[in-house]
Amino acid sequence: MNGGRVLVVDDTPFNRRLLVRLLTSIGHAAEEAGDGREALARLRDESAEAIDIVLLDIVMPEMDGHETLAAIKADDRLRDLPVIVISGVDELDSVTRCIRMGAADYLPKTVDPEILRARIEASLAQKRMRDNEQALLATIDRQRSQLSRFLSPQVAALVSSADGEALLAGHRREITAMFCDLRNFTGFSESAEPEEVLGFLRAYHAAMGELIVEHEATLEHFAGDGFMTFFNDPVLQPDHAARAIGLAVAMRQRFSSLSDDWRRRGHVLEIGIGIATGYATLGRIGFEGRYDYGAIGSAIILASRLSGEAAPGEILVTQRTFAAADEAAVGTPAGERTLKGFVRPVSTYAINGMADGTPPATPSEEVAR
C-alpha cells in the first residue's frame, strides 16, 4: 500500500517526534500540530496537501481531543476523515466517548510500531475506499450529464439507475410510436446550397428537439429529416397515445412557422407525421461498441409507413391510437390504408388538433426570430 499523509496532533513534542519518526519509518508522510486549533487550521488549509488520517491526542491545552473531534465531524468536508485517538491505558472512558463521536480507532500511548502500522493501514484503506466511492459517484454524475446530451434524458437516467440493466436487456410493453419526416427534403437538398440545407436542418432539429424534450418523448433515432420517437418507455406514461398526438400537433404548428420562413426563400418544405400504438420489444439494440436504446415492433413500422402516407402537413394515426387518446384529440376518419408489409388495411384518422386547443398559436415575433 502506498503511504498516506498523517497529521499527528499532540501537545507534547516528545510524543509528536516519536510518532512522526515511527510513521516515517513505515512509509507515511507525517505532519505535526500542537493542539486542536492548529490541527483544524491545517486540515482546512486547501493550499496544502490533503491529510489522509489524523492521530489525535485527547488531553491537550487550548482545544482538546474531544472538541477537535467534534469540530472535524461537524465539518462537511472533513467528516469522512479517519481519526485515530491516542490514549493512555487509564483513559478508556474517553476512548469510548471518542468512538461514539465517530473516531475510527484508538492507539495506546505506549505505541507499538506493528499496531501503529496495522491501524494506520486499515484506516488508510477505508479512507481510500471512500475517496474512490466519491470519485466514482462524481464520474457517474458527469457521465449521466454527458450521456443526456447524446441520449434521450429518460434513457440516460435509465442507464445509471438500479433496474437499468434489466430494462436494457429487453422487455415488452405497449408504446405509441410517432414518426415524422419531410415530404420533399430530397428535392430541397438537391436544389439548395449545402450550407442552406445544413442551416435548415439545424433550425429544424433544434425546434423539433425542444418539443420532443418538452413532451417527454423517448427519441429512438433521428436521421436527416426524420425523427422516430415513442412514449410509455422507459418511463411509464399511461396517456401515451394522447401525448404522442399532442407532440405531433405541436410539431406541425412549430414547423409551419419554420417553413413559412423558408417558403419566402423559395423552398417548399412540408412535414408528414404518422402515429401508431402497439406492443414492442424495447432495450439495447446494436453491437459491441455501438448500442442504441431501441424499439422493435409493428407499431414502429406502422408509424413510419403512416408518415409516408400522410399528405403535406397531415398527422395520420391508427384507429387504435385515436381510440386510446380517449377524446383528447379531435380527428376525422381518413380511410382504410393498405400499407407495404401489412396484410390487412389499416383504419386511420387525420388529426385536426387537441380537444383543449393546445398548443396556443405561436406569437408572430417568434416566427420572425
Partner: protein, 115 residues
C-alpha cells in the same frame, strides 16, 4: 525504579537502533518535562489542583515511554487526584516529582555517557 532499562531498549528497537534519534528523544523528554514541571509549580503557587492535571498527564505518558517508572506513577496519582477534585498535599507531591525528575535526568544522561 528510577529508570527501567527495558524502555530504552524498546525505544532503540522501535526506531531501528537509531541511537542518535533516541538521544534526541531523551533531550526532548527533558525539555518537555521542564515545561511540565513549570506547570506543576504554577499550580502549587496558585493553589489550584485542577491546573496540575494536564502537565501531570503529559509528564506521566512521556515518563512511561522513557522507562521512568516511579516518576510516571507519581504523576499518574497526582493526575487522578486532580481529576477527582482534591489533591492532598499538592506542594509536597510536586516537590517529590521534582526530585524524582532530577534523578531520572541524571540517570538518562549517565546512561548516555556510559556508552
Amino acid at each position: 525504579m528510577t529508570l527501567d532499562p527495558a524502555a530504552m531498549e524498546r525505544l532503540l528497537e522501535i526506531t531501528g537502533g537509531d541511537i542518535e534519534f533516541v538521544d534526541e528523544l531523551v533531550d526532548t523528554f527533558i525539555d518537555d518535562a521542564t515545561t511540565q514541571l513549570d506547570g506543576l509549580r504554577a499550580a502549587v503557587a496558585d493553589g489550584d489542583a485542577a491546573t496540575a492535571v494536564r502537565p501531570a498527564h503529559s509528564l506521566k505518558s512521556n515518563s512511561v515511554n522513557v522507562g521512568a517508572t516511579t516518576l510516571a506513577e507519581l504523576c499518574r496519582a497526582l493526575e487522578a487526584d486532580g481529576r477527582a477534585g482534591t489533591v492532598p498535599d499538592l506542594p509536597g507531591r510536586v516537590a517529590a516529582i521534582d526530585i524524582e525528575f532530577a534523578a531520572v535526568r541524571e540517570a538518562l544522561l549517565a546512561a548516555r555517557a556510559s556508552r
